[in-house]
């Protein structure tokens, strides 16, 4: 993804995350647009470019948040790395595997974020409430949205990285 496209895309996603999505909360959870975008790109990209975008996405997330800058990037980058490690061909067209991947990575993001919030930022996390009221609905929404996000970005990715056919 080029900078000219990626930066505005993540800026728009962050703005939507901070303006529109909080009004569409299910219990206390909302879809994590930037997380979905970063993980979807990481799942498609073999060159680990997804990690760089996870970093950028995390930066924009934190810019419009009360947490110190870098917290979200710190959680997102390793998740993007592990998502990128898996063979993309394996789950790219498999709904079940993609769902498991989406759910697992969204859950890992939320748990990692909560741990950093508690132990790095020293923020009072009420674990049962946070997990039931925010994490669970957010992970469910992210899982639902990861598949269309991958499909959408896949078209774009294929344009940027056309497959070489050898005879």
């Amino acid at each position: 993804m080029s900078l000219q496209v990626g930066i505005p895309l993540f800026v728009i996603a962050a703005l939507l995350q901070a303006t529109v999505l909080p009004h569409l909360r299910v219990f206390g959870g909302q879809p994590d647009l930037i997380v979905i975008l970063a993980l979807a790109w990481a799942s498609l990209d073999d060159d680990q470019e997804g990690m760089a975008w996870a970093f950028v996405g995390g930066f924009f997330l934190d810019l419009l948040s009360g947490v110190p800058l870098g917290v979200s990037s710190l959680v997102l980058v390793p998740i993007a790395y592990f998502v990128g490690l898996a063979e993309a061909q394996l789950y790219r067209n498999n709904l079940l595997l993609l769902t498991v991947l989406g759910m697992g990575s969204a859950l890992a993001y939320h748990l990692g974020y909560l741990l950093l919030l508690r132990f790095l930022v020293d923020y009072p996390v009420a674990w049962p409430g946070a997990l039931w009221y925010v994490t669970l609905p957010s992970v469910a929404l992210d899982t639902i949205l990861i598949f269309p996000a991958v499909r959408l970005l896949q078209r774009w990715y294929n344009r940027l990285h056309p497959r070489r056919v050898t005879f």
Binding site: G28, G66, V67, S72, G129, A130, Y133
Partner: protein, 279 residues
């Protein structure tokens, strides 16, 4: 020549009718022609209607469309005016508050974004250090305490809302005259803790900032007691507080810029020093 023209005409008929080879040419030609034809047609119809009964079906249809357009425009206008009216009421109430508290310098700001994290209850406002806003400034609106500025840039400030789980406010109940600590809840409510067990608290009592600790000025309304939880054997009782502020629809807030919170970190240093000195 005639033969050529006839053959050409036939060719046009064949090409245009069967293979559609002339479609691009037709499209290109119709592009400027269509609107001109439409205008001419309208003019002709209008001229023709001069001598006829004006209330025919086509006219009624056109009028109906115009009226529908007008209604839609009016509805948009009504929504806009309602928004303006609400802004006016909010600002008017804030002006009233400023009149009642001439000792406080208020800067009015608009909420531009909510926190991207679902675990935090913060907002970002469109005023910053350029407008005299500093970290620690209390934030209020026409109905009560909103929160506190925790971070400020030149053109924006990050406000921790009173309902944020990390927010702690020293409070006092107006009628019961007892003090406690109001903390935010992830679900959006407020809870007053550390209320002495012997205190008699009733629903409806107003919770105000006590001013203790120096983080907030005293007597700002936080909310009303909605229920009390008194556990046997506990030292303190708890009360659920219903905030007077509608945190789901925060739009305009005021920041008290001349309030300087008391820096309590000196006591931490002293405490740390005394602990290090203790054998």
């Amino acid at each position: 020549m005639l033969g050529v023209l006839i053959i050409a005409a036939l060719a046009v008929i064949v090409l245009g009718g069967r293979s559609g080879a002339l479609r691009p040419l037709i499209t290109a030609a119709m592009a400027p022609l269509s609107p001109v034809a439409g205008l001419l047609n309208q003019g002709t119809e209008a001229a023709a209607n001069l001598g006829e009964d004006p209330v025919d079906y086509a006219t009624l249809q056109e009028r109906n469309r115009e009226l529908e357009r007008t209604v839609a425009e009016m509805q948009v206008e009504i929504v806009r005016l309602r928004e303006l009216e609400q802004d006016y009421h909010r600002l008017s109430d804030l002006v009233d508050y400023a009149d009642e508290h001439p000792d406080q310098n208020l800067v009015t700001a608009r909420v531009v974004a909510l926190d991207t994290s679902s675990y935090l209850r913060w907002v970002i406002v469109n005023r910053g250090t350029r407008d005299g806003i500093q970290v620690g400034n209390p934030v209020i609106n026409e109905t009560g305490l909103v929160g506190r500025v925790e971070n400020a840039a030149a053109n924006a400030a990050w406000v921790r809302l009173a309902i944020d789980p990390g927010s702690t406010i020293n409070a006092m109940l107006q009628t019961a005259r007892v003090e406690g600590t109001v903390t935010g809840q992830l679900q959006g409510g407020l809870r007053m803790e550390l209320i002495p067990q012997e205190a008699v608290i009733e629903a409806g009592d107003l919770a105000l900032t006590s001013g203790l600790g120096g983080s907030f000025p005293p007597n700002i309304v936080i909310g009303q007691v909605s229920s009390v939880r008194r556990l046997q054997g506990e030292l303190f009782q708890e009360a659920e507080i219903r905030s007077t502020v509608d945190f789901d629809h925060l739009e305009i807030v005021s920041i008290i810029t001349d309030f300087q919170p008391v820096d309590l970190s000196v006591f931490d240093d002293l405490l740390q020093g005394s602990q290090e000195g203790t054998p």
